[in-house]
């Protein structure tokens, strides 16, 4: 059916060179347009909800009562966000979330980086079972760990503390940290390290002065990933705490009795870091998921 239209335009434009078939060119141009249209449609699906929650969170309580709601930011107000931030447990939850995220990141790097280095550099016996063990632990549902851990933490006095959530999140993040850092260290040529050794560095010095600086960007990506995981994790944090809630746990536990404005503000605050994290990680995303999983 497109033949008819293209040949008609051909008849009008091909006067100088009658022998040239312009149909492939027209088809190519049409494909480029279709490509852009498809991309824009998907982008709308992905971005519009984020725009809407930002819009809702930045509207006054009064304008959220109106119906129909306005789709353009015509009465910008920080009232909803302010009320939300002043609700009980929110500021504390925010602080707890950041603390849990940072401590999880540090703990999982301290344990994970040496292990990742060992997996990348040494062909030790038991390397295969160890990697399988890591893959297996990655597949374990969080819920399986959280409930028993809550009982164990109750007995040991760790229950309802930042440390309890940090321990759970580190356990969840560790397999990924090890696998990602291993792939990062694989990317640092062995020769550089050996050169450092020849110039008189001890193994530890060679690692700290030569290998680590080269691996820092990849390790940074892995740490952001860990922080995101911890920031988003809600089930374990809800089960392991009562008063020391993280932000998502606080929002979840007060969902049922909170007004809509509170939930919109909470959702927006939870989404904002995602925009920042993905922006910084976008170059590493395919590397991380491509090389570490297999």
């Amino acid at each position: 059916m497109s033949h008819a239209t293209t040949s008609r335009t051909d008849a009008g434009t091909t006067r100088p060179e009658p022998g040239v078939d312009r149909r492939p060119l027209a088809r190519r141009r049409r494909n480029r347009v279709l490509l852009q249209v498809a991309c824009i449609l998907i982008t709308l699906f992905m971005a519009l909800p984020i725009y809407l929650i930002a819009l809702a969170a930045m509207s006054s309580r009064q304008s959220l009562q109106k119906f129909p709601l306005s789709f353009i930011p015509d009465n910008f107000s920080t009232e909803t966000m302010q009320t939300f931030l002043q609700s009980t447990g929110i500021l504390g939850g925010l602080i707890n979330s950041v603390q849990v995220g940072v401590f999880t990141l540090v703990l999982s790097l301290l344990i994970g980086v040496p292990a990742g280095y060992a997996v990348a550099r040494f062909a030790f016996r038991g390397r295969e079972p160890y990697q399988l063990f890591l893959l297996f632990t990655r597949a374990l549902p969080i819920v399986v760990l959280s409930v028993p851990l809550a009982q164990l933490f109750l007995q040991t006095g760790l229950y309802d503390s930042v440390l309890a959530v940090v321990l759970l999140h580190s356990a969840l993040a560790l397999p990924t940290t090890i696998l990602i850092t291993a792939s990062v260290f694989l990317g640092v040529p062995r020769d550089v390290e050996e050169a450092a050794r020849i110039f008189g560095c001890s193994p530890v010095q060679a690692f700290l002065k030569v290998v680590l600086p080269m691996a820092i960007p990849g390790i940074a990506a892995a740490s952001i990933f860990t922080f995101v995981m911890s920031w988003n994790e809600v089930l374990g944090a809800s089960i392991l705490t009562l008063n020391q809630r993280t932000l998502p746990a606080q929002v979840l536990s007060s969902l049922a009795e909170s007004p809509l404005a509170y939930r919109f503000a909470g959702g927006f605050l939870l989404v904002v870091p995602a925009l920042v994290f993905i922006f910084f990680m976008r170059r590493y995303l395919t590397n991380m998921w491509g090389s570490t999983i297999r």
């Binding site: 809407l52 819920v143 809550a150 020849i198 089930l235 979840l252 959702g267 989404v271 995602a274």
Partner: protein, 304 residues
Amino acid sequence: MAAPDAPAAARPHVPPPGPKVRAPRRKGSSAALLLIAPSIVFMTLLFGWPMVSGVLQAFGGPEGLTTANFTRMSQDPYFWSSVGNTLLLIVVMIPIQFVLALAMALLIRAKPRGASAYFYIWAIPLAVSDLAAGLVWLTVFTDRGYLNSLLASLGMQPVSWLAYDNYPSMFGAVLIAEVWRATSLVFVIVVAGLQSIPKDYEEAAGVFGASFWNRLWHVTLPLLRPSLQTALILRTILAFQTFAVALALTGQNFPLVVGETYRWYTGLQDPNVASALALVVMAVSMVTAVGYLKLLRDQTEAAR
């Protein structure tokens, strides 16, 4: 001058180039064990110990071992509907996500103008939790939300999308929110997989006159199998863990299995039944993962 030179010259001679490459490897075994030991101890304490005590808890009661927790779990009116909802969600959601993610990855590979901006926006939900995704879509689907606002301004009647008696639209809302949130993961894995496939294969097929769909079906998809396989296993296991999106959108109206665990633990304060539910989730996840691996391996062998 001669004195400092002597050790410098001697040093490279002690480990000659040949064995030098192998030497750190043999020594490495104990060094490697030292490096991975903390992770093994940590993981045993935080995975092994809770797993064992979780099993004991699930079968534990006031008088020794019992299956009473599982009986209580299965007699709860919410249990079977949560199982049904979870399975229905997975069965409908996974194919949609894979088709959409594949389409998105192919679009990115065609290098449209602004491809990096598209990639960024499409990857954002990767860092959004299911709770946040539920709240994001709540702005759209709630009674006085943006979807009904749109309908009203077009002169149509608003619909109670999330009402208890409107199951299809409630399911649809949860489905859309989960497709929105979790397709990004599949998308990024498929993009990574596509990057590792040389373009030559497809170009060769194109030279021999294969159509787009033929190239996709006979060349690209078979080469993508490892990526699709990991994405499928990962996505299914994660899908079993979804719960906060339904809680945020519908409250208790659309129960999911992990949400029931949360309710038994925090609402009904019964850790034993919660453990029993958790065991069910783990068993189903493990069976699914093993099943997929078997199925996909069989198909690969049959194809050879």
